[in-house]
Amino acid sequence: MGLVAQAVASGIVTGAIYALIALSLVILYKSTGAVNFAGGDVVMTACYIALLVLVGFGLPYWLAALAAIAGLFVIGAGFDRLVIARIVRQRHAHNSLVALVIATIGLSDLLKGSVRLFGYTDNVQTLPPQFTGPPLFLGNVILLRQDVGIVGVTCVVMLLLYAFFRFTRLGKGLRATADNPRAAVLIGIPVQRMRMLVWAIACGLGAIAGLLVAPKILMTPDMGVIVILAFAAAVIGGFTNIPGVIVGGFMLGIIENLVGIFISTAAIAVAPFIVIMAVLLLRPQGLFGGNPTFRKV
């Protein structure tokens, strides 16, 4: 029993990380239709920016965190302005999806190549955990304070995001743009600026995820592969359903650990993909997604 409880507790922590990264992917997809294959590298870049500020410049952690979030916010906005906006302006709309995907893959390579320039990539790195102290014991279950912090901060970020989209004028504008861009233009919403803002917010969200996960999963230039698991979480939850994506993230973290305990460690890597296949077969819109919609072409 203790074994299962420990596996579930650790799975919730890992799941929170998946959920946060998945969230950054989904808000972008919902608002712009772009699937960001650089989502994992955004997380990775934020970690290295924070490390550079922390170690390279010797500044305090809060400044490093701020620099990482602001840096990725700017990178996201800049990427939209310089690349995505040009692609969207192309007349051949049927090609633009492919172009968007290629552009995000390009961003992924650019970010990976750039962090290697700073000389911190020779060894596995980490950022200092912000929640320290002796572990907490819940019966037989050991909980690190950092893990509790990760789940707590993730929940707070999700709530703030929910409030932003639900209650603020800007958030409502973003939702309107996502739901019907033409109608949004007609009522005076600056759609292009909104799209740029979504890219910036999504990258900023990725940066927060990076700051949280770095002490947990460690930093290497290839840590961005975690985005595959975030995609899995998004597919399981329903790619357009934000609460579903969050639940999908937590589910994935727990499933991985239970598979590792009861089946085999070797099966952990394939477990998410088996779950994805099962979900796509039985409920293609995801566990929490709405009914699938079809558009005439």
Binding site: G11, T126, I142, L144, L218, P221, V259, G260, T265, I268
Partner: protein, 404 residues
């Protein structure tokens, strides 16, 4: 040990352990193979000079280079100077294939000395075998290119992954007196080789594997495998994963407060200080050891001569932990060229390589090749690391598993 005495011992051992005595005569063309004249012999030296895996080979290439320079300064081999053509394979199989083709066809080298990463160097095996060009690996483990042995490819100067797995169990059984072992390794061919040799040595020592956990390289949460290991209650845990997984495992050692000895393979701990920093808890290292194919700590007295030599050759560089790994392959090339006589061919060079047996002065054990043996090194030392201080454990540990 001075360089002069080392060379003397090495030359003596090479002489004693080879069927041929030193041939006599003087260089005289025409030559059957490219890359050799009366005055020079051309060697293609390659490794990762750029890219994410640069650290594995850049300094090792430097060590080989300084050895060849030293040989040239002392008169060359049979009066011939060694001329290096240096290229960058980025540890990438495609790039390595392009590099060796260019070195052989454009630069017309006599032999190839390079390769710091197994996957890349294995990709070059087919070409050198077809073209009958000797390939002496730099510091790649190279299991896939060495088992089964083929005529033109020599390597594993730092040991194969069989060596890693076998010596870990040898150490755990002999020094730590463990009877029940848990194994955490990667789920690729490296992990398979570590485990195969480990199991062989475990059987030999009467040791039982109570948990075998093989994890994918990019697994971000090692809770499940470490919980299974904790439940198996082993006397010692062996870790042969890549550094990131090893660090995550050590974090779990700290989190689950595991007290048994943890013994890590060299590939898991490229930088002990960095490991401590990323694990973030000194208590996890209370009972921690790691293996090394070198004959001492990287700053130990037995490594001093090569460090000093490197600093003289490259005053502006600070040698990394992988530097000394590059020396033995260059030593082997020069010794085999000596043995192959004044007018060597690629075939006579390969014959000489096949009989080499020498002490490097930097590795834990001797370099030994044979007619059916292409992996040169098969020993490790072990280092106790408490998080701040490294102490070499007594003895040299050997793998006795020779593959299927």
């Amino acid at each position: 040990m001075t360089l002069r005495s080392l060379l003397a011992i090495a030359a003596l051992l090479v002489g004693i352990n080879t069927a041929n005595a030193f041939p006599v005569g003087a260089p005289e063309g025409p030559y059957k193979d490219p890359g050799i004249t009366d005055t020079e012999i051309v060697i293609g030296l390659f490794g990762p000079e750029s890219g994410p895996l640069r650290n594995f080979g850049f300094d090792a290439m430097g060590a080989a280079q300084m050895w060849y320079d030293m040989i040239n300064k002392t008169g060359g081999i049979w009066g011939r100077k060694i001329r290096l053509v240096i290229d960058d394979d980025r540890c990438d199989p495609t790039a390595l294939n392009a590099v060796i083709r260019k070195l052989v066809t454009v630069d017309k080298v006599f032999l190839l000395n390079g390769g710091s990463c197994t996957a890349a160097v294995v990709a070059g095996q087919e070409y050198v075998t077809r073209e009958k060009v000797p390939l002496i690996m730099l510091n790649a483990a190279g299991d896939g290119a060495l088992f089964p042995p083929t005529r033109y490819v020599f390597g594993a100067f730092g040991g194969t992954q069989l060596t890693v797995g076998g010596t870990l169990v040898d150490f755990v059984a002999k020094e730590l007196k463990a009877k029940k072992i848990a194994y955490l390794g990667s789920d690729d061919d490296f992990g398979a080789a570590n485990l195969a040799a480990g199991k062989f040595m475990a059987k030999k020592h009467g040791v039982e594997f109570v948990a075998v956990e093989r994890v994918p390289r990019n697994l971000v949460d090692l809770t499940a495998p470490m919980l299974r290991i904790r439940q198996a209650n082993p006397d010692a845990v062996i870790i042969t994963t890549y550094p990131q997984s090893a660090t995550l495992a050590m974090q779990k050692v700290s989190e689950f407060q595991l007290a048994m000895p943890i013994v890590a393979a060299v590939q898991a701990v490229p930088n002990p200080a960095s490991l401590v920093k990323t694990v973030g808890n000194l208590a996890a290292f209370k009972n921690f050891y790691y293996g090394s194919p070198l004959n001492d700590l990287t700053d130990g007295p037995r490594q001093k001569w090569v460090i000093d030599m490197y600093k003289r050759a490259f005053p502006d560089r600070k040698p990394t932990a992988f530097m000394a790994y590059g020396l033995p392959s260059a030593q082997a090339v020069t010794y085999a060229l000596m043995l192959a006589g004044p007018n060597p061919t690629r075939e006579s060079f390969v014959d000489a390589m096949s009989h080499l047996h020498f002490v490097t002065g930097v590795m834990a054990g001797p370099i030994e090749f044979g007619p059916d043996r292409r992996d040169g090194h098969n020993a490790s030392i072990f280092i106790k690391f408490d998080g701040t201080k490294s102490t070499r454990m007594p003895g040299v540990y050997v793998n006795e598993f020779r593959g299927k």
